[in-house]
Symmetry: C2
Subunit: 436 residues, 2 copies
Amino acid sequence: MKTRTIRIGLCGLGTVGQGVWKHFSASRARLESQLGVKLELHRAAVKDPRKKRAVKIPAGRITTDTLAVATDPKIDIVCELIGGTGLARRVTLAALARGKVVVSANKALLCAHGAEIFAAARKGGGHFFFEASVAGGIPIIKALREGLVANRFRLIYGILNGTCNYILTRMSLEGAPYAAILAEAKKLGYAEADESLDVEGWDTAHKASILAFLAHGVWVKTDRMIVEGIDRVSPIDIRTAATLGYGIKLLAVIGRDFENNELFVRVHPTLLPKDKVLANVNGVFNGIAVTGDVVGTTTYIGRGAGQDATASAVISDIADAVTLLTTGKAVAAGRPEQGPRVRLAPLEHVISRYYLRMTVKDQPGVLAQIAQITARNRVSIASVIQTAAGRTDAASLILTTHESNERAIRSTLADLARLKSVLEKPLLLRIGEFTD
Amino acid sequence: MKTRTIRIGLCGLGTVGQGVWKHFSASRARLESQLGVKLELHRAAVKDPRKKRAVKIPAGRITTDTLAVATDPKIDIVCELIGGTGLARRVTLAALARGKVVVSANKALLCAHGAEIFAAARKGGGHFFFEASVAGGIPIIKALREGLVANRFRLIYGILNGTCNYILTRMSLEGAPYAAILAEAKKLGYAEADESLDVEGWDTAHKASILAFLAHGVWVKTDRMIVEGIDRVSPIDIRTAATLGYGIKLLAVIGRDFENNELFVRVHPTLLPKDKVLANVNGVFNGIAVTGDVVGTTTYIGRGAGQDATASAVISDIADAVTLLTTGKAVAAGRPEQGPRVRLAPLEHVISRYYLRMTVKDQPGVLAQIAQITARNRVSIASVIQTAAGRTDAASLILTTHESNERAIRSTLADLARLKSVLEKPLLLRIGEFTD
């Protein structure tokens, strides 16, 4: 019997594309022997063929016609490594329409157009694999979809953005302010020139959306989530949190209430108790804690991004794609839902303890005013810490609350904003005392 | 098109078998919709049908003829949940000879007869799945085999035995001696009546053997490993380790030297630096750190055993078996090795720092004698701590060494045993300063 040749096309040869080319070439012989096929990196599409690249690719295998790679009848597997939602979307849809397998690391595309992409795959007979889109180095998508197939997931929470975790880790180790660490992170290449996608929480939200789809079978758009970034976290918060026994991490939290058939997805800096494993996942590392109803909590830690970690995930998807092409194994896209469609939880069902830092006028009666407001909103105060605010006429007032909900805390914040004695917009953080 | 029915037989209805029955029944509808088949728990074989069980199984579905379940032509998937290497082996071989898929949690069987089992599977057209055999709740086998397929594994180390980790954790938290905690663990059901398989390291060694096979494609028998248990670890070791910045964990360590094509597998109590994630994995939890050449280090944490965690893994294997039966997806058993066959590393290539505790006569010149012996064996001392030994004529002497190797340290121990001033067999622990 003649060995079948599977041909792979790369769209995009940036950092990730070059990593895939390099590591795939290095492991090709082993993969061929394991999968029982010949594997060929057939063609790569780039914007600028003359650009210097770290990997040597024969000139005949390079093209600038990206769509031609996506539609090439010889190519079985298309790796979309362009990024963004423009050309990447056209490439993806074109390949899926021709029944190809698309392997992608593109969380923004998937979050924005997931339903369209899977519909195109069903219609065209294609398949869409995306292990590299969330926590690149960690095989979390395979774990949720296959390894933990027996489970329903009450709670998933994780550190999904390496840039934010790097900044928070250094702020915590050095006591330095956010802006200084961000500037250094940019110099060192740990943060993008435009950092907003990372530090404002949108990148994490895209990944949370994908995990929620895998676990619960529905797409939650980012405008239906709570999404808050790390840009207002200051050294005083990190110091106070440490005193109270917490570290601060930017978390995605996906909670499901099976009794009421409600789901919520939120992204925010979170005070995480120091004895939680994820509170000690530092630097550019990602970590995810998954609570299943059968298995309990399992935790996964690894590099979330970067050339090598992402290439590892892309190659794992290529191997699965080869198995699919040679045997017809169909991978379920998301989890099919039983029973009535899950609803997004209203804000009053999203429960948490809160941390609230305010800069207030240093005069008698301020605490009484604030306490009246929290009481009126039925938010119960657990602790009060007052410290210097770095100006003579004001003080920093930090409250932690007992369990409350997002509706009540939002109303509290609105009331506080109307107080003349509260000098800046209060900073709100969540306290993540998750019961694993 | 008529939906195909896949029939499952359970051999053994102990703790794990009942867990599989319970959780499989609960998730059956969802699994059927996801996998596109009808699923039926066809029959279960037990020793005593009249025994009280937590799950209700119709009398017609229970039999005492275990081999009849394994060979029943109606049954597609046989779950071997008997344990041991007697009947379990006969059941496994009989089912594989008939081309069935066997799902097993039996690490002892696999470690002792792995080569025979996979040969029988190849010959009979059957398949053997064993996700539940190592770190039940953690999908580590799928991660090694599929998720990290792009990687070669220089280092794998992990906490694979919940009983030992529970005992060491409580010793560490309470400062209590080994024997007292073991007795309590037995009362609470965290240790078996005969604890030797766990505390002497054999259970961990079985699991290490399976991980080594998955990562490197060869079976290493336990008599070719270093296997040491936790039964001689005392509160003084845990205190001293803590002072030096380490926790003590029973680890399996699988190291591969790709340049020299050498492999070693070892199991021993290990001083693990407190800043390693696994040093903080406590209680009955398991944890595994895997260093791949592409992805770097990824870490996995979860419950290693128990009814529910094991059932979760067995059901994941059942789902994969259904995919295999409906599409023909073949899972590679181990990793096919490229090039010349890997050798077991000689002891002088197995490098570590060491911790050595001796009870010595409290008299002048003893340290000089000991230092002469270590020098003669080219073992270089890093630190010396002397404390009271709980008897008036003796002292506890604790040495830590710089990097040495298993040959040199073994020879050192033999020389020390001949010293009259060394009163008991020295306790040797490894210091696990792994470079992830």
